[in-house]
Symmetry: C2
Subunit: 602 residues, 2 copies
Amino acid sequence: MLKEAIYHRPKNNFAYAYDAETIHVRLQTKKNDVQHVQLIHGDPYIFKSDGGEYSHLPQTAEGAQDRWQYDTKPMIKTGADDRFDYWFAEVKPPYRRLRYGFQLQDQEETLIFTEKGFFDHIPDDDVAYYFCIPFLNATDVFSPPTWVKDTVWYQIFPERFANGDPSNDPEEALAWGSEEPTPENFFGGDLQGVLDHLDYLVDLGISGIYFTPFFKAYSNHKYDTIDYMEIDSQFGDKATFKTLVQACHDRGIRVMLDAVFNHSGYYFEPFQDVLKHGEQSRYKDWFHIQEFPLVTDPQPNYDTFSFVPFMPKLNTEHPEVKTYLLDVARYWIEEFDIDGWRLDVANEVDHAFWREFRTVVKDAKPDAYILGEIWHDSMPWLQGDQFDAVMNYPFTMGSIQFFAEQSISPSTFSNSITNVLHSYPENVNEVSFNLLDSHDTPRILTLAGEDKRKVKLLYLFQLSFIGTPCIYYGDEIGMSGGADPGCRKCMVWEKEHQDLDMHGYVKQLLSLRKQIPAFGNHAHLRMLEADDEKSIIVYEKANEQEKLMFVLNNSAEEATYSLPILKERDLKELLSNETTTLDPHTPVSLQPYEGKVFQILK
Amino acid sequence: MLKEAIYHRPKNNFAYAYDAETIHVRLQTKKNDVQHVQLIHGDPYIFKSDGGEYSHLPQTAEGAQDRWQYDTKPMIKTGADDRFDYWFAEVKPPYRRLRYGFQLQDQEETLIFTEKGFFDHIPDDDVAYYFCIPFLNATDVFSPPTWVKDTVWYQIFPERFANGDPSNDPEEALAWGSEEPTPENFFGGDLQGVLDHLDYLVDLGISGIYFTPFFKAYSNHKYDTIDYMEIDSQFGDKATFKTLVQACHDRGIRVMLDAVFNHSGYYFEPFQDVLKHGEQSRYKDWFHIQEFPLVTDPQPNYDTFSFVPFMPKLNTEHPEVKTYLLDVARYWIEEFDIDGWRLDVANEVDHAFWREFRTVVKDAKPDAYILGEIWHDSMPWLQGDQFDAVMNYPFTMGSIQFFAEQSISPSTFSNSITNVLHSYPENVNEVSFNLLDSHDTPRILTLAGEDKRKVKLLYLFQLSFIGTPCIYYGDEIGMSGGADPGCRKCMVWEKEHQDLDMHGYVKQLLSLRKQIPAFGNHAHLRMLEADDEKSIIVYEKANEQEKLMFVLNNSAEEATYSLPILKERDLKELLSNETTTLDPHTPVSLQPYEGKVFQILK
Ligand SMILES: [Ca+2]
Ligand SMILES: [Ca+2]
């Protein structure tokens, strides 16, 4: 057994409270090394003497030693990546306290793994050896809003979704879709435009809108805020927004706004005040100024987002800045009843700020959703005290590389997906924000070399994955576009220029997600097979009632694939809605880039 | 290279802010497997084109790709345990942002290790591969009070340290030291007794007193609080305590009290109210009641500490309970100017409570010390938002097993100590509360089988270790005693019954700790050698100015030990205060259980 590969540490993705009574425990071992793992678990305060008497601390008398009272439970293997196998068990400790370790068995030996290392027998003279979840306090449980689990998001870049009110168009606005987007041009999209097309979104099947910023700002993307308390007049007024939120809620659609709290815009009044008054400005500590007077050339002498002079970093440790931004967070919830905040560049703001932010937001609306933009491993922000979710870029990158770019093998992809799923607790995965593209990246159709079959396969994977998917406006009708600004074209509303086939496909998948719990977010996903020769992956989604098998052919060739588990079962293929039984000699056959979803009926 | 052994994850002991400008990075590899490690590090937003132009995001043009601008820095090996080597480097990123990875080299290959896995070259087309410390926000830096680093604690169990005022003795109090302690008896120790003996403590060289509880309670140990706002009358009154704190401060001694917030006592008024009024009690939600009426037999039907009926667990999620306990925390600081809180059973209270507790305590006294009682891996409580330190039981257990019980080998001990040091950030280690025994365990002299030589060696190790040591009252004069209640004997004040040799030795070590920064907390400690045959360990403590070599003979035999590093150097042995030069043929010679400390003069 390879001891060096064995890893466990509590209070992260390896051991966590799934809910107020359930603890999940995972273990990492070398891939294909260990055959069986048992979880050794018990209450830290139950010991028993040889004579059968119970005690709460281990008493040692001459020649006798009280023994810790533990149970064992088999762990199941939930997946593997390129280096490791992952094992899982859940326990519901009756007194909400848990000490635990692992009994590992391979063909040659049985070892006990604890916080204090390895043993050849289960030590029971004390509990100090063991890993510990000291007490399952309900308030510490990672608890995202329950509605998020069943939400499908739709991302809207307000300047480019729909122009519902020409009267508010910026002076320089171009005719809708008349030109390619540039970093500077405007087309007049607004909130009324969204209101006008809500029924389109309902019909598509989405249940949440994520708006990139529409607060008063200079640019067309509005990430350079001038006033966090005002809607930019090019998008309409607050009354329209209030109507929009209400109209969304009437249709079962949640509304999430974009909080750009890492940095303000250059024209944010406090920053202008510092530019003007320098060291005398009462706002000088609102930013991180290295020296006065402020210059932007050759580099800004104040902290910025990246090195962008017009995005000065806010000092979120400063009490006045905190008060201001927390007021902003509260205001849009209390006044407009929004349902969530997406946090721009969330990782560069201090944790202390986000903890206060969470308190303020949840006080204002207990089931509000807090989504952080973080591109890397985000466990430190997902412990229950800060965010409800992060944007799942590891999912994004793996999916794009595999389906769109075809740059990684099925097994590499399968490994990376298993790794993503095991990098976070299950309750974190369930509300993870799974995007394929956004206003920050090229569109999927472009990434997929304009091959719509690949995009469909991407959608099948995304919309059957654990978490809450997000569709970037226009992708569902086959819009293309390269990196910013190319990905920010005006939405195409003329039916004759929309890809209605793609639209129908997305709609079908969203409908399956709603109708079949195991297709959506109410199942465990396991990557089962990855055939590097045929470029096929197979994964399972199962809950106690249902079992679905996904077979995806990620190649330009027709393929057949034999799946013993499907043989002689009554099956329904969900995309074609055809019922079938596969006899022992018939493999699954797949067109190029086709995916099939088999519901096992019995 | 054994890939499965390689581990790193940011924002814990593997990567953390040491101070507002310094980031420490550690890496784990299989023991004796990797020969060189380079840290690859850079700002996430600096890229350069082939033409030499800088950009902030990697631009890809036809046939050209901007490259991430990184530096490399060799990592040093800071130790090994039974499975792993540990590597270390520090960086001060100019813009407080860091992306980083590792270049590992063994005899056969060079590999790059990143958050996204292994590569055979340094990927520089993007930073998304790399581990990330997104921004070094000062407020998130783990920042214990600076005074703690140079503090030596003395733990006082108030009922047993000194009786300075017979008028407040409990009725049933026995004559001082006239009988063995039992779980129920009283001897009349009090606060005046401590005041009377402060000069003794100053002379010994301690600089902090940790008091186990003295709030109004039923038992002699006072962990079953009746009133958190009152001093138990058997210990004196608030005026006396105020005088005591002032007298301590006048002598440079800090005062830490024991906060028993996990559970109250049975006679705590709110709990009595619940017992009396059951479901009608306005305090019913202050506890975790499973059903009414409350019973204690066969088991309490309310949550308790362990299964102890007279210690009902407090519901620290309840707003009133929080307000009450936070008021308590604030009161003793504001009214009496205490310097710290030690938190009893800290791990079973919710993290959310401790975060609020920290805010309240630091608001009341910014340099107050918060010490949690946790016996297991405590990283989740030591991220800067909760505690300043925990009681270092892994240190305790290893030291007792090796020096007192002689039940583990030098290499096992050395491995476990290296493991402890690498389980936490350096700034955590520096204020870790290193105890050998307490009111909860047998005394060290008893654990060491009454062998004073072993106790001296234990003290040498403890008092030269990284962290802040704590001496349990009376150990320094050779008191013995088994598990509770044996370890709670009355302090012996008659000089003729004190072990003055032990006292002098402890005093000498504390004086060395003060005089020689590298002896105390201002150096790095490395375990250098562990000779299992001779039972000798060697460790180094070094800073930029000083280097000390500790050679400890943990056996009943005289020993000689050859240490090439000491050869032909001018040395001062600190315990004997003798200056010497070891010629190439002379080993260090040691008596049974003797330790020597060589200061390398040049
Ligand atoms: Ca408009
Ligand atoms: Ca007294």
